[in-house]
Assembly symmetry: C4
Amino acid sequence: MHLKYNVFAGESLERLAALSDGLFAVALTLLVLDLHVPVVEHIHGERDLASALLTLTPRLVPYLMCFLTCGIFWVGQQTQFNLFTKADRNLAWIHIAFLFAVTLLPFSTALLAEYLTFRTALLVYWFNVLLLGLGLYASWRYACHAGLTKPEVTPEHDAAVERRIVVAQTLYAAGAALCIINTYWSIAFIFLLQLNYAVAPRIRPLYRL
Amino acid sequence: MHLKYNVFAGESLERLAALSDGLFAVALTLLVLDLHVPVVEHIHGERDLASALLTLTPRLVPYLMCFLTCGIFWVGQQTQFNLFTKADRNLAWIHIAFLFAVTLLPFSTALLAEYLTFRTALLVYWFNVLLLGLGLYASWRYACHAGLTKPEVTPEHDAAVERRIVVAQTLYAAGAALCIINTYWSIAFIFLLQLNYAVAPRIRPLYRL
Amino acid sequence: MHLKYNVFAGESLERLAALSDGLFAVALTLLVLDLHVPVVEHIHGERDLASALLTLTPRLVPYLMCFLTCGIFWVGQQTQFNLFTKADRNLAWIHIAFLFAVTLLPFSTALLAEYLTFRTALLVYWFNVLLLGLGLYASWRYACHAGLTKPEVTPEHDAAVERRIVVAQTLYAAGAALCIINTYWSIAFIFLLQLNYAVAPRIRPLYRL
Amino acid sequence: MHLKYNVFAGESLERLAALSDGLFAVALTLLVLDLHVPVVEHIHGERDLASALLTLTPRLVPYLMCFLTCGIFWVGQQTQFNLFTKADRNLAWIHIAFLFAVTLLPFSTALLAEYLTFRTALLVYWFNVLLLGLGLYASWRYACHAGLTKPEVTPEHDAAVERRIVVAQTLYAAGAALCIINTYWSIAFIFLLQLNYAVAPRIRPLYRL
């Protein structure tokens, strides 16, 4: 019987990491292409320029949100990779699917920013974040199952990684559900949640999770 | 007699891998630039936005196809690199040519998506996939010939890599040939073929190849 | 008590470096998208082309400034990373915030180039550079505090890194303050300062800092 | 006396390589943004599409030229890096300047492609290639001078690297000088020269150089 190609395909964790880092780097800079310098014809003095820049400020919000979300999932992916010894074909494809969801993030963030009061926009954004969470969850479950994790990975690590994903996704879903009342409540809740995951001094009860 | 430059040029496999990862990352995100948030003027309610997003959905198909194809050939290249000890000038240029074909992929995928019923578009797309296959085939043949493979690479590895490329390209060619009947048959066949190469539980008879 | 996710999250310094290199690479090429080949209809001879290219030359200046600034802060970040043993979650987020400021640089440089005589544009640019400095300062202070530096890092290294950031930022602030007289003085001062940090034979009194 | 920052700044050769690979990857894909799928309104049958694609073919030529030039200088940079042990601040800045010339390449290639018969366009392109050559030359001379090369680098290596750069640049200059007769002669000469440096079976007399 002959050797199957899939047995030895896609084993490099380093290259999977490098592809991901490149893709995250591009995704993080895509939204900056939407920031345009104010047109010269409309600017006649310092005041005009200052007010033109002020009207541009709201564009920075989705940009910052996209950065936060990308950062959160980049840290999440990196943390898993640090606990793996190698990859295999299936893990590679799980992460290619995860990266697909990453490339959609600039679009769904821009959509939310443009249609702040629309539930449709909020649900698209939430669905994108859900896909990211599912990607990381599938990656972790598969790697544990296929024996790709390092020997020093304890059941405590396993529980901690899984808990983090499940808790975060539950909170995101709760945030999205708030749109029944009002999309602003949803957005504020999700934004504060993301900030909490990024900034060090986290809210106590969440920290323990 | 003096030392020839070409003898020691282009030997870093790591840098060839890094250049490829960067280029694949950019190619994977190029198509997302075509996704535009619906224009505010035309949207007067949730329904308008939902239907505007639905009309955008077909744009996701080429995007997904491009991702699948890029993923397949990225895994293919990576698998070969894992079996090489180092590169040389010629291998570097084979892969630069391969990367040239990679950068054309967003274009040929978008062309196919726009002209689904046109044989010309289908043949351009198939030709692009053929170029990718030729690139990987040339890379493997050259590396074996020039002694760049690791000592643990057995004739079984050699056979498995070559078989994978030849079988896949034969199936792609068969898929392309279906356009004599109808381009939809071709596209469906190629899409299912790519999905099969990506998703783990593969169709049995192909799996054995 | 269970293991906290944050204890082992985000530890890979290599991936933080790879993300940064990718993002710097994209930021360095973003401004080149603004360079457009002169339109054929307006060019009737060598002279027309030569003068069309000459009118394009001023666009190279912000491009060069952006390159200088990116280069200075890339070298600064890299120098710190060489003195660290590993990263942690907080350091990762400090650098994600730093990278956020990096992606704004093409915008603020283009703004300054378009509005050379406007104090608002100069202050935006200076604020961006200040953010970059704060990012590197926070990174260094945090890493020293959290014990992430290599054993061979001496108090002299510590002093040298900190001094470099503080002196450079003081000079940038002084340059920005010159806009009270005239923005051209500010720009000339900042440009010469950046050139000094980039080019090897530096001005003597600054060199000692 | 205190430790100077510049003594230990910018030492990571790996990060310089990663920055370069990212930037080359972006530069290689920039020109593909100019390839647009033919507009649907003008296409009424297979013939229309085929002829629309044929009229697009000339756009592939500058694209291929840019790929060749980028490839040549990427291999050149990589070959040098393989012979270095580490970088320092000055080497880092030499390569940041080199990368500046790399980002200009898509522009100068597109300019040449648009204005094939204009000496101005040819001289701009040649000047860009000259800058790239100067960058690599400065890098090699500086690294040898500053003791950054590996112990196994012999005077033969030194001679081979330098000879390659000087011979190539002399031939490029000769090619550019041919524009006194006709720009087509120049372009053909430079294109064949680049192809010779890329493709393995090189012209005999050049091979020995």
